[in-house]
Amino acid sequence: MLSLEQVEAGHVVRIVRLAGSQSFVERMKELGLVYDTVVEVVRRSPLGRTIQLRYGTSHIALRLSRNHMIGVEPLHQQIASVQPERALDYVV
């Protein structure tokens, strides 16, 4: 398991764990970042640790902190490249 923060830009991963305060975990789930959701790290902020995520039809900016993490597992690259023009399917 990796932390979402460690994922390089352009890579597609699957969420396997949410950890942190209850309100953080709840909010992430409300945004649709639940277990098994496939997300792409679109880009990283040039100035720091803020990242841009894409999943489904959503785009969000996210900066995690030491006590709040999203655990992910890598997906095979070809899944993302099969249909590059289509929005990512939620669950693979």
Binding site: L31, T50, R63, N67
Partner: protein
């Protein structure tokens, strides 16, 4: 407060769902309370009329769920639960579903359905979905949800008439199907929402246009260029578009006062009160209107276009290292026009510590009321030479004052977050809406509303204080001598007044930087609004007029003040919280006199220290 003779409907939706646009199209401008950048921070009530019927529509801050995580989200829950003492329990709920963001909207629907209230759904961003050549089945959606679904193209107003007819017809609304039990987990709700979204929305393509724009706007280099250009445009527009209008307003009011008083050396008390108390007070409120309006128009355009969220992504990393976050950007940017809308817009920051830190440093940003003071003192004391043959030293000093305030503000925020407001670093998130072309009517209506609220909160305080200051400066009365000129008499009157006594009593406090009682009086006057300093100087040095570009006043100041004193005054104005309206808003938003006192005290210490330091350094350099 609205009489409960007509039904109340709560307008709910996730953030960025086009809620405020729809509210404006439905209600026109009949707003009670304005909203602020980023979110609707207080319930605004508007009346929707169709034929002979009417309902009251309550615009609520956007929420993702019914478990609030920030102050503005709490407002929504409070109103929905009927816990708001003014609004009571709503008779129905109008949910906005953003067709491009269906999943989150449906999650919210599943929770609202448990409230058991009659509901209506407005499906927005239909045009956006069509543009991405997706297929949307609103009939299927209506069948699934169990309530009427009305597709809307907000900008063009398509569907608005039908929505309005349905809205006022509240007795025919249906109660939604409860698909997910009230005690279900968020995962269950998300699964349901995804299922429904997949049924009604097919062939969703990526928003190619937004992706293309993002590739430039969020590019490490070009993104920075775009960001700097947009910020430069904002500041430029405040100076070049708003400043002339402000000068006209200022000139208009001083002409009006001169005309009212006429040739009289000592006008009768009532006329003096009217001209120099009321009219001057109204003038010093109205003079802010152009800047606040221009800034609010620009902020609203940036917000509606979708750029503001990207800018927040960009600056989040910088603000994050000072213990703030991307959402602090809008409050701090707005504070460059006026701290009041800035402080209010901090409500959308979920973390208490980060919100407080943002609020406490917002008044350090260079608001527009400081500008007349800066302009006057810089014009009088900084030589108009060119540095490197390109940029004038005066512009450089002015720019330096703006920049230094921001840097000091960030350092104070960092210090606060390390000490009194320490908390774990909280995560930051912000949704990116797709880019859209802002609709001018919506922009103007919202900017106007934001300006109106400024007048309601700040205007009354400024006007009241102007009257108090007039009274302090006008009593005890001095009898005019026949040989006196009007200017001479005004100076005499001021010198003998209670205001002067107050200035003289306080002046010893400022002994380290050699502020005389006149400067001290200017500082006291600034509690109404900082730019009052200019008119106090104008009256004291008997040159008349309160125009900062007035050469007579500049020369008088050059004779009266040592340059180090003038620079120390500049430093003092950079940091001091000498604005009663801001103090009142700080009290309201922090909910505590202790934090308000703390803000006042730390800024006073900063201002005093900076002034003393500036005085000593410049005296050493100039001697």
């Amino acid at each position: 407060m609205q009489a409960r003779s007509i039904p109340h409907v709560a307008l709910v939706g996730v953030p960025n769902s086009g809620k405020t646009t729809l509210f404006n199209s439905l209600t026109g401008q009949r707003k009670k309370v304005a909203n602020y950048p980023g979110v609707t921070v207080e319930p605004s009530v508007g009346i929707v009329r169709q034929h002979a019927s009417a309902i009251a529509l309550v615009d609520l801050p956007g929420v993702y769920s019914l478990s609030p995580k920030s102050t503005d989200e709490e407002i929504t829950l409070r109103v929905l639960e009927g816990a708001d003492p003014h609004l009571g329990s709503p008779d129905g709920v109008l949910l906005i579903l953003d067709a491009t963001n269906l999943e989150k909207g449906l999650l919210l629907f599943s929770q609202l359905a448990s409230l058991g209230k009659p509901m209506l759904v407005a499906l927005t961003m239909i045009d956006e979905v069509k543009r991405r050549s997706a297929m949307l089945d609103d009939i299927q959606l209506e069948a699934t949800l169990g309530v009427k679904v009305i597709p809307i193209v907000g900008v063009k107003g398509i569907g608005i008439t039908e929505l309005r007819s349905e809205l006022v017809n509240i007795e025919h609304w249906r109660t939604p199907f409860v698909h997910v039990p009230p005690d279900a987990t968020i995962e269950d709700r998300i699964s349901w929402a995804r299922l429904v979204a997949a049924q009604v929305l097919r062939e969703v393509h990526l928003d190619e246009r937004s992706e293309r724009i993002d590739r430039i706007v969020l590019h490490p280099l070009w993104g920075m260029v775009v960001f700097v250009l947009i910020m430069a445009l904002i500041f430029q527009s405040i100076f070049t578009w708003a400043q002339p209008v402000m000068d006209w307003i200022d000139y208009g009011f001083s002409q009006l006062r001169a005309w009212m008083v006429g040739d009289a050396i000592a006008p009768p008390l009532w006329l003096d009160f009217l001209a120099n108390g009321i009219v001057a007070g109204v003038g010093s409120v109205l003079v802010f209107a152009p800047q606040i309006f221009v800034l609010m128009v620009l902020v609203t355009i940036l917000e509606d276009s979708g750029y503001l969220a990207r800018a927040a992504f960009f600056v989040d990393a910088i603000l994050g290292s000072f213990g703030l976050q991307g959402r602090s950007f809008i409050p701090l940017l707005s504070s460059y026009a006026c701290a009041i809308p800035g402080i209010l817009s901090a409500r959308m920051i979920p973390s208490h510590a980060e919100r407080m830190a943002t609020i406490l440093v917002a008044p350090l940003m260079t608001c527009s009321a400081r500008l007349p003071v800066y302009t006057l003192l810089i014009a009088a004391f900084v030589p108009p030479v060119l540095v490197g043959g390109v940029i004038s030293l005066q512009a450089l000093v002015l720019g330096g004052l703006y920049l230094a305030a921001a840097v000091v503000g960030l350092c104070v925020a960092w210090l606060l977050r390390k000490t009194v407001l320490s908390s774990d670093r909280t995560p930051f998130f912000l949704e990116f809406p797709p880019y859209r072309v802002p609709h001018w009517r919506n922009v103007v209506v919202r900017a106007y509303g934001r300006m109106q609220d400024f007048f309601q909160t700040a205007g009354t305080v400024i006007l009241a204080l102007s009257v108090v200051l007039w009274a302090l400066a006008s009593f005890p009365r001095v009898e005019p001598q026949p040989t006196m000129s009007a200017d001479h008499y005004r100076r005499m009157q001021l010198e003998q007044s209670y205001a002067a006594k107050l200035g003289k009593a306080i002046a010893p406090v400022f002994a380290p930087m050699h502020f005389d009682w006149q400067v001290t009086l200017g500082i006291i006057g600034s509690f109404a609004a900082r730019e009052v300093f200019v008119s106090v100087m104008g009256q004291l040095y008997a040159v008349g007029g309160d125009d900062p570009s007035n050469l007579g006043l500049q020369h008088a100041l050059q004779r009266q003040l040592q340059p180090p004193v003038a620079f120390a005054v500049l430093a003092f104005y950079m940091f001091a919280l000498q604005c009663m309206s801001t103090i009142a808003v700080l009290r309201r938003e922090t909910g505590s006199w202790r934090w308000t006192a703390f803000a006042f005290a730390y800024m006073l210490v900063l201002a005093y220290g900076a002034a003393a330091l500036t005085y000593n350094i410049t005296s050493a350099l100039l001697s």
